[in-house]
Symmetry: D2
Subunit: 242 residues, 4 copies
């Protein structure tokens, strides 16, 4: 298997509009994440909302093994055509890492079939992401929990299908829990939802958060195999012999 | 919990157009299934494709606890508004039993997030549906397998998310297998996909098939509980104390 | 299906030895739970550690549809023969509700195949059990979370197989989370692990906790069906025709 | 992560006692599988039933990342101490690939908590193992199904817990199906049950079967991470502040 080629899609508006976000991510969250992934040896490209076709052309997607998605304010402005292209590629095998507010992106909701609804609160409170699946490759090299001193709260009920594998559960200071690391498979594609990453906190500078994203890229990389086709099929032998 | 109120939605075209289908189901498949379910004590209503709004109005759905769906030729003619109403009600708790070709209905594909693609062959061949989850309520009173002397073949790969519970696996004479009884949960709603039921075979007269559908109605009935809301949430105590 | 017959197995030592436990449960936790279940219409019998065969005879188990288990100090003193009888009955279809410290009982560990290890702390701290599966019958009639003002903490990693269905996740004041309501199926039998219930707190007087246990009894009741046999099987037709 | 070190445990009796088995596997099935795995770059060691401690010493297991197990006639003669050592290592992270009759080995039954019972028939019939999880790494490079012209039949109901991931479903000529590729996780360890491999057929010479085993070794390799401990835990902050 070749080294997975990563495309980081970032809305890239909040870092330009909000000084608090810009302070942590002067070149955008995609650059912070991208720099780490390049250091891990992955070829990384960037696409953003304001590019033509949001940078999500057939060509760009055809050269992507794992797509990372961060969006928030523009969910409903992403074109249906781009959403269609991304979802089709996931069913064909492209991995998808949906970060933070991506729970409400068109792409994620469509692949889940649910609303993605949550509870939330922005109060710079403490979060602990506990590993509940310690043998899972996404947890490689992590401690028992990742502690983030200040984050936005996301709380249950999180309206998603039962994850194929639950990897992290978050504890929040204010009294909530959240299934914050969730693996799904759709078609040939693997999807990892990872909760943290509000733009006003330095979460994507946390080495454990970065390591989790890198591990998820390796886990979500496509697996070579037969194409899934919708087709009429011939019997093993002429029927009627029984 | 009250007795679940059933709405059987049938495309109801093939029984009027194809003599082979009419021979088995002179009043439509919905009447064959409906008669059994009424005998089991369930209040049953019928809706069909050619009614205004396909019979899937807000009012009709509001009075439905479990919706049974059989469609085939008209999948893409079902209005998006009706699909939207049905999916919303499922997320709110309405049960859904998707029969046979419903794997390609807009409703099922949208709730799954996948293509629903399969292999198929119409060759009147033998099918055996093996129970793989013998403690599951949908299997109550069934033998080890249901044998159907002649059915359409559906084969893997079936493009669905991993079922929350796999209940039946089918064997086909011509050499294929299929995950033919699959439970899913989406929002508060329970979904059961059940494979058999091609219109040119008397499948819905088989007592084990009928019993399975009746069991599935009981299993898929809504559970009373809190509403799932998307909302800002207050902390347990004023934060900042840690 | 008949009304499930319940057998509550309680170690019944801590209530006689510890004044704090006796204060909450003067006649034993089994009587508090049993009284509620009788009020719900279930036939309830009691068995305790100090009875001959721990009250877990073939006869007693043969008349039990759902077994509730609370143990703590005597886990390793329960006879292997009793454990063998209980586990065999679960595989045959008897439901099992494992409460609190039962995570370390021989019966639970043997049915799970794992150590059942946890983190813990006895500090009378606040616990919130959040419902993460709002359509599940065990949550019928419950609010979004059950709050217990003082409980023992159990924390992850909880060494269990991935639950077939995760129903509750607990938040603890001191910073931990726990998968505190977990459904498993083994053979024909359904198993529900439910975390709360340390003897020095009045947890089993909480109406939501009691309702959860009653719901779990209904969910775990056996389903009639074919016996699971290990056997040589005859082919559909003489082989060699292909 | 280093290249996983493989230990192939083979009962190694049937190849010495049965001419039909010896014809296919003159040096034992372990040598046929081992030769393939060495060619894939894995360091491979061999252990057999008749060695002291069955070759399953603490030292041998400490140097093993993935254990492959083939047994049949001697299941109940394997010492409880060896079983205990193997199961403990699996919970600590060692991968386990259980082949064919290993469904009834002490090790597998203990890790599953169920009987492992099946149906069976030795009639040299055709088997097709259909891939139902095409994105899973164990299926890398495989076709839609693996066809074996002659194998022993294993049929449902297979008494195992619901697999964490179902990868293959077998079709048998005589009318049965079987969940023949099943992933489980127990503690930190990954387990893959793979059905085919009766000694009187050349199954382990099939390139797709060998590729599946090689893929499974890569998938089951341990993931570095924190140790799972049973321990008292300190709160985040002194309690009582709420």
């Amino acid at each position: 298997m070749h080294t997975p080629r990563v495309l980081i899609w970032n809305e890239y508006r909040v870092e330009r509009a909000e000084p608090e976000a810009a302070a942590h991510y002067p070149n955008g969250m995609h650059e912070t994440i991208g720099q780490y992934l390049r250091g891990e040896g992955f070829p990384v490209k960037i696409a953003t909302f304001d590019e033509p076709d949001h940078g999500l052309t057939e060509e760009a997607l055809a050269e992507t093994d794992v797509l990372i998605w961060w969006g928030n304010k523009t969910h409903n402005l992403v074109s249906d055509e781009a959403v269609e292209r991304v979802c089709r590629r996931v069913l064909e095998g492209m991995g998808l890492i949906a970060l933070h507010s991506a729970h409400h992106s068109k792409v994620f909701k469509r692949l889940m079939g649910t609303s993605g609804n949550i509870k939330w609160r922005i109060a710079a409170e403490k979060e602990r992401l506990w590993v509940v699946a310690p043998g899972h490759p996404i947890t490689e090299g992590l401690p028992e929990y990742i502690e983030l001193p200040a984050e936005e709260m996301f709380g249950e009920h999180f309206d998603i299908p039962e994850p194929d594998k639950l990897v992290f559960v978050s504890w929040f200071q204010g009294g909530e829990v959240f299934r914050s690391g969730c693996c799904f498979e759709r078609g040939r594609g693997k999807i990892f939802y990872f909760r943290p990453g509000h733009q006003t906190y330095p979460t994507f500078h946390n080495p454990h958060v970065l390591r989790t994203i890198g591990n998820a890229v390796r886990w979500a990389a496509p697996v070579d195999g037969f194409a899934i086709k919708h087709q009429k099929h011939e019997p093993l032998e002429p029927l009627g012999v029984m």
